[in-house]
Symmetry: D2
Subunit: 140 residues, 4 copies
Amino acid sequence: MHRYPLRVRYGDTDRMGFAYYAHYLRWFEIGRAEMLRSLGMSYKEVEEAGVSLPVLDAHCRYLKSARYDDSITIETGVAELRRASVRFAYRVRRDEDGAVLAEGSTEHCFLGRDGRPARPPHALVTVLERAPRAATPRAC
Amino acid sequence: MHRYPLRVRYGDTDRMGFAYYAHYLRWFEIGRAEMLRSLGMSYKEVEEAGVSLPVLDAHCRYLKSARYDDSITIETGVAELRRASVRFAYRVRRDEDGAVLAEGSTEHCFLGRDGRPARPPHALVTVLERAPRAATPRAC
Amino acid sequence: MHRYPLRVRYGDTDRMGFAYYAHYLRWFEIGRAEMLRSLGMSYKEVEEAGVSLPVLDAHCRYLKSARYDDSITIETGVAELRRASVRFAYRVRRDEDGAVLAEGSTEHCFLGRDGRPARPPHALVTVLERAPRAATPRAC
Amino acid sequence: MHRYPLRVRYGDTDRMGFAYYAHYLRWFEIGRAEMLRSLGMSYKEVEEAGVSLPVLDAHCRYLKSARYDDSITIETGVAELRRASVRFAYRVRRDEDGAVLAEGSTEHCFLGRDGRPARPPHALVTVLERAPRAATPRAC
């Protein structure tokens, strides 16, 4: 899977002392954006080509807590690529010991500027086909 | 289900013009907090009684977009109550036409101050048993 | 000043147990949006009339901590109205004892759809002239 | 000034297409945390030494818009170091052309575990004395 390093910031924590659960979805966004960039097409370029990938579904399982100032790595891959949608899978790892803190997935459709389903640009399909494959974590 | 009104703020939107997908988890937090309060025990009181409910799992399906300044209602109920965990289910409705914008669920365990599984305070169990029941949206 | 009630959410807190400092700017946004609405023109309608009010400057003094689940009130007024800009002033009060937790201000210019300075719509000027007046807190 | 690179994320943008104004305070947090770390004492270590640096005052002037996927650099320095407080100054630059997008400052006091003013740990004072100096942007 594609790997991207991050750090847990003060603003990510809540009064339990851990990263607030909604921030993981933001980390997933960073993971998929950086995976696309690393494969040659940034998500900004995807939108400039007239297609957006709104989220249909998001899921996250929280296994261990991310704490303030932890170095973490977002691992991202493509779990499923269809004509009209794509599902990314993610793992959040703590760098110190490699522990998996969370795993999840997001599903996106391809939408044109008119707000209707659209064929993704060829360059994006190529990028998604070349992306590392990942298993979707099972829903619990 | 318990109902709580909110409004989509500028800071919730992204450059697509819609509410950013991570904010729905925040809305779910507000929904469950207000449901507990309405039943007689705020989540703050739960923590003061020595038990916290960290999130094990969160899921959201995004059906229609929430837009800036939309009046929305968070509907919350208990989908499943077990000895060691509880699952809440949520629906986000647009007030203008009642359309369901999103539905989701979160699962929580009961944790004591020592970070180990704990029996929830009796008052919390009573509240959760009295809470409106809700079906978990199917994973997609 | 115009008054709007809010509650400090778990996602607003940080590991110090207080509301994270950036959230106050979000509360200021809510305060000015609700003040405009209460005077008859929502900020959404302002943008639909072709004018936006981007922020030029924001300032906040933090006097006492806002804690999880605190009921707070955002007080908002107009501190200064010029041809090309407007400055709002804010106070965040804790409802329990009326203590001022923070005070601040934001300055905004009027921008047209072309991204250039624009005259605000007449309806907006009327609203801003009718708005409660407030002193800008002194910079420290 | 100390320099730390960041990227504007989708979740940072609002429906104007620019980074939402509250996120700059988050970027300032990242700037000061990374400056402290680079000088040999992370903010986590400061807190572990029994002292926290709550924010007394924050100010930001927004000069140009940060847009989605912009590479930016947070420049951080110490503007003023007193016995009981420290003021950091910041500049946010767009990497593409070096333009200053925003500048600001935050003032912090030194607080002990008992919530009362405290002398900062000697190691922190050394770090702050060695930090790059920066002018506070003038309040406007």
